[in-house]
């Protein structure tokens, strides 16, 4: 019960959208899970909150799909962290996702602009 209520608090992000955002972030530079969360929040001015659990399962799924690659590195604070890096397939996927997103938003805009 409690579980369901908690999940309701942040608007559900469409699966593909989260993937796209993650790919976009690590396309700039390899990043660990925490960093990806922060970056998405910062860039969106806190409008987008990333569910931690979803983030890590999404990363795992994309690792499996071969879109990202993970490696253990040391952070500037000298801590060990798992960094995710985009692969060639990931870049291709990102392109496809962006295009799909653009088409979708254009369509939504058109519908909203109807009235």
């Amino acid at each position: 019960m409690a579980r369901k209520a908690r999940e309701k608090k942040t608007p559900d992000m469409i699966q593909g959208t989260l993937d796209m955002l993650i790919l976009k972030v690590i396309h700039v530079e390899p990043m660990h899970g925490w960093g990806i969360t922060k970056r998405i929040q910062q860039v969106s001015d806190g409008a987008l909150k990333v569910n931690q659990g979803s983030l890590y399962t999404s990363l795992l799924r994309m690792t499996r799909a071969g879109w990202v690659k993970a490696e253990w590195r040391v952070t500037e604070n000298n801590r060990k962290a798992k960094y995710y890096r985009i692969t060639g397939a990931g870049v291709k996927q990102l392109g496809a996702e962006e295009e799909r997103w653009t088409r979708l938003t254009v369509a939504v805009d058109q519908i909203l602009g109807m009235a």
């Binding site: 579980r3 908690r6 660990h32 899970g33 925490w34 969360t37 569910n51 931690q52 659990g53 890590y56 399962t57 795992l60 799924r61 690792t63 499996r64 799909a65 071969g66 801590r79 060990k80 962290a81 798992k82 397939a89």
Partner: protein
Amino acid sequence: MGRLTDLWFRVRALFGGHRMDREFQDEIAFHLEMAADEMIREGVEPAEAHRRARIAFGGVDRYRERARDERGVRPVQDIVRDSRYAIRQIRRSPGFATLAIITMALGIGATTTIFSVVDGILLSPLSFEEPDRLVQVWPERTFTKRMLVQFQAEASALEDVSAINIRFFTFPGDASVEPEELRGASVSHNHFQVLGAAPVMGRGFTEDDQEPGQGQVVVLSHGIWERRFGSDPDILGRNVSVGEGEAASRTVVGVMGRDYRPVYEGSQVWVPFQVDPSNFSDYEGTASLRLLGRLTEGTSLEVADSRFNELAGRLTANLDFITDEERAAAGLHPLKEALLGDVRLRLLILMGSVGLVLLLACINVANLLLARGQGRERELGIRLAVGAGRGRVIRQLVTESLILGLAGGGVGVLLAFWFLPALVGILPASVPRTDLIGLDGKVLTFSFFVSVISALLFGLLPAFRTARRDVQASLKDGGLGRKQGPSGHKLRSGLVVAELALAVVVVVGASLLFRSFWLLQHKDLGFDANRVATLRINLPVDRYPDEAGRLLFYQEVARQVGSLPGVTRVGLTNFLPFGGGGMGIRYRSDDSPVSTDYLTAYAGVRAVSPDFFSSLRVPVTDGGYPDGLAVGDTVEQVLVNRALAVSLWPDGDTPVGKTVWLPFGSETPARIMGVVEDFAQSSVERAVQPDIYIPWELWSPHQMYLLVRTEGDAETLFSGVRSAIWLVDEDIPMTFVRTMEDVVNGTMADSRLSTLLLMVFGGLALSLGAVGVYGVASYAVTQSTFEIGVRMALGAGGKGVMAGVVRRFLTVSGVGILLGIVVALGVSRVLSSILYEVSATDPATFLGVGALLTMVAFVAIVFPAYRASRVDPAQVLKGE
């Protein structure tokens, strides 16, 4: 690429699961630390910061589980875990497991055995080119050469038509090899072309070989070329003696390949026959050809069949010996089906019955599982209570069933390794392609899938029912499972109904076949096969070239054998009743009120010695065997059977003294000297056909069967008979040495075997049904012990309780039996064509089976019911 990465990931996850778990732990730990650090920087207490970070993350364990799911190996890991757990559970109740595995092993073992026979004989294709285009033309009939020529010319749906006639060839012995008789065939010149086969050495036959006076040639099998001719590389062009009819010596023109499988098994020698329209008796008469055709490319069997039916109707319209019914049935049959004949139907029936038996086994095991499920309520209740999903529990239970099913299948296949050779060993010689039967990969794959499907069949329903139970209720009442909802009754009643209905269907099938077989065996054949020994003598053509010499030999053999102690009669004939083979002749009579001509009247013809009839105890009721005949007499004198007499003189006039005309060589008038009572000629089932008997003085063929009637045991006679024959000529090959009883039984062998097997399955079905009903009733009584105890405490008598249980289950059983009878009435029709003088819906059989099953069900119910009446109310109530 993506898919490969995915697969590689899963494989790593499967074997490196623990490392992955650890890495995930580290990664989350890093995340939580970073989150906590941020809060500490904002001034939150470190301990509180860590707590909040964990809460914000939202349940680390949950995401670890989710991460595990995401690795995509969860199902595999679960299966392994479930299987381990299942095996532990199964081992905990060895009695239950043994019973379930044995039940399934019997069902799957029997199914595997029958399927491997079906697979070898029915499913594997014929080894000819494009075998699907090969048909047998009107398999119910044999044909004359004229008909062959007509069909060749006019059957447009057939690319070509060839003819085959099974014959035997005698290869004489010499210093190095024994004389022997080999099976073979005389064929039309296009025989091999139609099959799409060709010799590996030399040639097949050509149209020239078929011209009268041409082509005394022969094609040999690879086996005989190796064995008799030492693989002689110069065999082609060599003259060999095949001792068949007048063409004793033939030129070898071809040798077939080692793996050539002839149309009729065991054939080793092929010779072309001549087609000569000017030789009336040969062209119109004696040949009994079977026709094989190849469908024209692209013509469907249905189209070809209907076109042929029309053609056959037209070409045979004036032939009286073909009935309108037969004519309507004229058609083309796929060659494989035609070659298998009855065997195909019998195998399919066996396969169907064994499938029903397997289904029964599944129901029994399902019932066992249900009972066990109730015993496990507490265990499963706890699992559900601590949060295992219902789906998860169902999967666990189904895994247990799968393991039971596969174990049963494994043991079943082992049983099949033992059943199958035994079964193949007793297959009648008439069943073709037995060498293709084996427990090969295909059969084992079949058994695997049958095991899995059976496991799902018997496992799914109990699994759903068991997992559906109310957790709290089952935990509250301590897992005693005392309460049994109404749906439990319904399900159990359903199982009883299904079991008995299935059992009825199988037992009805078995009983119908048994009745039919019993009638077949007890049918009056018109002759007495007891105490008669038979064998066939083959006179080498070169040593006995003329009729007179052969007659002298046969007469001397009859005299010598007749003087053996215990021998009462010695008869000879060239075609033994039930011995296979035969010859036909056309006839007509001017003395008959019925108008006849050669085209319409057709009779079997046999050469006989005077004592042939008495050796088989066949009465000659009118006239008798002619006296004073001498070899070479021109006036033919014959005997006829009652069937012929009746067809020519339906008013009952005596045929003795009348004349029939026979195209025997040239047209000959033959005086009827005697009438022989009808006896079964080729099988019990076939109606007696007109027969003409020619005295041996007028016709002494090279091959004759000897029938020796004795006062003692026919089996002990053979060595004496052999020596007696060798006294006359010590170089005579003898074949088909059997008692007459064996000859007759041989024709019923496949009927006997399928009856036997179906009875075995019927017995299995009956015992499975009985065990099932007993199980259900017994379990129901155990379940309601408390209720019964209470009722008895309130004054119910033991007798009343017992009667109540019996009544309830007998009613349910009655429904099952009735349902089974209704179903059986619907499906028993498939048996019709192999049933002899028994209707597929024979009321006596159905009533008998119904009564038998009712009795069995009653016995299965009485014991648990008795137990119910012995419940001690004091103990039951104290037990609370």
